[in-house]
Symmetry: C2
Subunit: 110 residues, 2 copies
């Protein structure tokens, strides 16, 4: 799973959001580092819906503008849980190796 996809699932874990709100939530979550392009976001939503990881919660018309809310499904929650565990495991391995490396090499590398 790529980073934008992971972040979309994470955003929806907090409760149903419409597309644009997902972009905003991710921007906030990452301290402004990640701001998804519209193309990326709506393509990801379509794909995740086709995969059954999210589904349409409801649709609203606010100020004559459509808002389509999405929510995480049980499968989506499971998928995100597994992915998170994987991420954490990889981070732990990398950190352990980086620590060992710094002890051995003491900070001077090419």
């Amino acid at each position: 799973m790529r980073e934008p996809t992971f972040l979309v699932l994470t955003a929806l874990t907090g409760g149903p959001l419409h597309g644009y709100a997902v972009i905003e939530d991710i921007a906030g979550m990452t301290g402004g580092r990640v701001r998804l392009r519209a193309g990326t976001l709506y393509a990801a939503l379509d794909r995740l819906r086709a995969e059954g990881l999210i589904e349409v919660d409801r649709e609203e018309i606010v100020q004559s503008r459509l808002r389509r809310y999405y929510r995480l499904t049980g499968a989506g929650e499971q998928s995100l849980t597994a992915e998170t565990a994987r991420l954490r495991a990889q981070a732990t391995i990398a950190e352990r190796r980086l620590r060992a490396r710094r002890i051995q090499l003491g900070g001077a590398t090419a």
Copy 2:
């Protein structure tokens, strides 16, 4: 940074390895879950070398077969350190939200 790239850098953090050994190390590191294709590995090595994150350590001929060893550069170590912090931060956010969700929804979702 994509997962295979991250894993290649992690593999080389433990010390110089030749290409095939990187594949083996990653396979072991991930409990057999990830076994990089030759195409992926050598393309990644070329790319990372062009970016200055790794460099050729030495070349050996063992049983008339070439072994080209790669090592992590200082830039590579920095890059992996930053990426690891990012991964950990994302995992933490996702875990916090998943926990909150389970408390609120109590385990029954669509």
